[in-house]
């Protein structure tokens, strides 16, 4: 479960519709994952106390910057119980992508998050294509390739 390469989601998950995700952003506005249908979504569950999460932020910034025009949306769901901790983290490691908040962790439960961080790649049809646990800079190139390939797919 801590493999750091992309693992295809389990057979039962491959291509299954992504669970619902409706959460508030820092300004209290509600966002719905279903509204991103037609885009490729990189969804990341993180917390301020998680070391690899810190390393993943610069990479996710790059990803957003490079592929936003190709129809990629990077969405990060923060699972800190204290909003203050997330704010401190973001002050040190700014995010140029969407950050939503779920202090209760209900979304993490619905998505079956097994470790921090956990991320999901969702295709334009709203189906989960793969899941990824942990983050290592060396696996970034492989992730890039996976995402680029999915962006080519209509």
């Amino acid at each position: 479960m801590l493999t750091l390469a992309w693992v295809p989601a389990r057979a039962a998950d491959t291509g299954v519709p992504a669970p619902a995700l409706r959460l508030l952003d820092g300004q209290g506005r509600q966002h719905d994952l279903a509204g991103l249908r037609g885009k490729v979504v990189y969804l990341d569950f993180w917390a301020s106390w998680c070391g690899p999460c810190r390393q993943s932020f610069p990479w996710m910034n790059q990803l957003q910057q490079r592929h936003a025009k190709d129809g990629l949306a990077v969405v990060a769901v923060n699972l800190d119980t204290e909003a203050k901790d997330a704010a401190t983290f973001l002050a040190r490691y700014p995010a140029s992508f969407s950050v939503l908040y779920d202090a209760a962790g209900a979304s993490a439960k619905a998505w079956g998050v097994k470790a921090m961080p956990s991320s999901y790649l969702i295709d334009r049809q709203g189906a989960i294509r793969s899941r990824h646990i942990g983050f290592r800079p060396s696996s970034a190139a492989e992730l890039d390739a996976q995402i680029a390939a999915l962006l080519q797919t209509p």
């Binding site: 479960m1 991103l36 106390w49 070391g51 810190r54 203050k84 401190t88």
Partner: protein, 376 residues
């Protein structure tokens, strides 16, 4: 509603420094997240000043600069290293012995010690190889250990198993003909369990068997067994109090060995963050031990050619340590810490009994000042 692709305003607001939280990123227990080497390099230097004394006079002083380093080597390896040079000065080398006043000569000894541990991180397994070295004029010790940690799939349980060995060489500075050896082997089994979002416990059982020379060549008539089998059972509990943002530590060690020593050591500390920059940490430790079978208060011994030691450290006694540590976060990366502790040993503090009556009360104070820095 469409997801807003750019929420810069979220973090454009100025936030409190949150240094303690930021520092929290530096060091995490294995059960909290994906198993990985430390994500930053940290270096700590500290200076220890130790002094012990009895009612009459100062007896011994130790000054020791210390260095600690923790770093990742690539994405799969972690390295931890520590080194120290202790300079001891005082009345006698057997600085803690009721009989030692006899020699009374001034001594200065130096101990150089270093240890290193290399860890290899697999997905849910960590392999560790440790080496330790300690060298004095009259004593040299080398140790090596190998341990394996398994993390359960839900990351709430960690099992650890380890094997170690040590090889010591003993001489006496005043009698070059004394050349002795001691060998030890040890095995450890441990379990770490997350009990709740605020509680975690660890229990480690260590069994060791040593063979060779255990006597103290500086002490007259000191004659100890040529083997020592030891069992140490250490249980550590950590509890977080969200309302106070404080942590309570509780450690208990049960110890017994083939010399007849039975000991209980109980230690508790309170970690209290104060504001954004301070951490105060009062601590209390109590230790009680039963005497080794061959320990005697009497000198000389009643009979010669039997196992005998008047080393008060092998007597029945109780000991208390009271300590306070204050840490100041200069920045998210740099911390300065001052630790002061007072230690007292008394026969009468021995739990459930009088203790070894001829023993003199013993006191020690130590102070340690350290600076730690985390490189990003």
């Amino acid at each position: 509603m469409q997801l807003t692709p750019d929420l810069q305003t979220d973090h454009a607001i100025s936030h409190p420094l949150g240094l303690l939280t930021a520092a929290a990123l530096a060091l995490m227990p294995a059960t909290a997240q994906a198993v990985a080497p430390p994500d930053s390099t940290s270096v700590t230097v500290s200076y220890l000043s130790y002094q012990d004394y009895d009612a009459q006079r100062d007896r011994m002083q130790v000054h020791a600069p210390q260095l600690h380093l923790r770093t990742a080597l690539g994405e799969r390896f972690g390295l931890e290293m520590a080194a120290t040079v202790e300079t001891m000065s005082g009345a006698s080398p057997e600085f803690h012995n009721a009989l030692s006043g006899a020699s009374g000569k001034g001594i200065a000894d130096r101990r150089r010690a270093a240890d290193a541990k290399l860890s290899h991180y697999f997905d849910r397994v960590v392999l560790g190889l440790g080496l330790a070295y300690s060298d004095e004029d009259d004593y040299r010790s080398r140790g090596a250990g190998l341990d394996v940690q398994w993390l359960s799939e839900d990351q709430n349980t960690t099992l650890v198993a380890g094997l170690g060995s040590s090889s010591d060489h003993i001489s006496a500075t005043d009698r070059p003909l004394i050349q002795q050896r001691r060998h030890g082997k040890e095995a450890m089994l441990g379990l770490t369990q997350v009990l709740s979002p605020v509680a975690i416990v660890q229990s480690n059982l260590t069994y060791s068997r040593g063979h060779g020379y255990f006597s103290d060549s500086y002490k007259a008539l000191d004659r100890r067994p040529d083997s020592r089998h030891q069992l140490a059972w250490l249980t550590r509990y950590r509890h977080y109090l969200p309302a106070l943002q404080a942590a309570v530590h509780l450690d208990y060690r049960y110890y017994r060995d083939s010399w007849g020593v039975r000991a209980h050591s109980l230690e508790t500390s309170w970690y209290q963050p104060v504001g954004e920059r301070w951490l105060l940490q009062p601590s209390l430790r109590y230790h009680s031990q039963a005497a080794a079978r061959f320990y005697s208060d009497r000198f000389p011994p009643a009979r010669f050619n039997t196992l005998y030691s008047a080393d008060s450290r092998l007597g029945a006694l109780g000991a208390v340590t009271v300590g306070l540590k204050a840490s100041w976060h200069y920045s998210a990366q740099t911390t300065v810490a001052l630790l002061a502790e007072h230690y007292q040993q008394r026969a009468s503090w021995h739990a459930g009994g009088q203790g070894s009556t001829a023993m003199m009360p013993f006191k020690a104070n130590w102070l340690s000042l350290g600076v730690g820095h985390r490189f990003e």
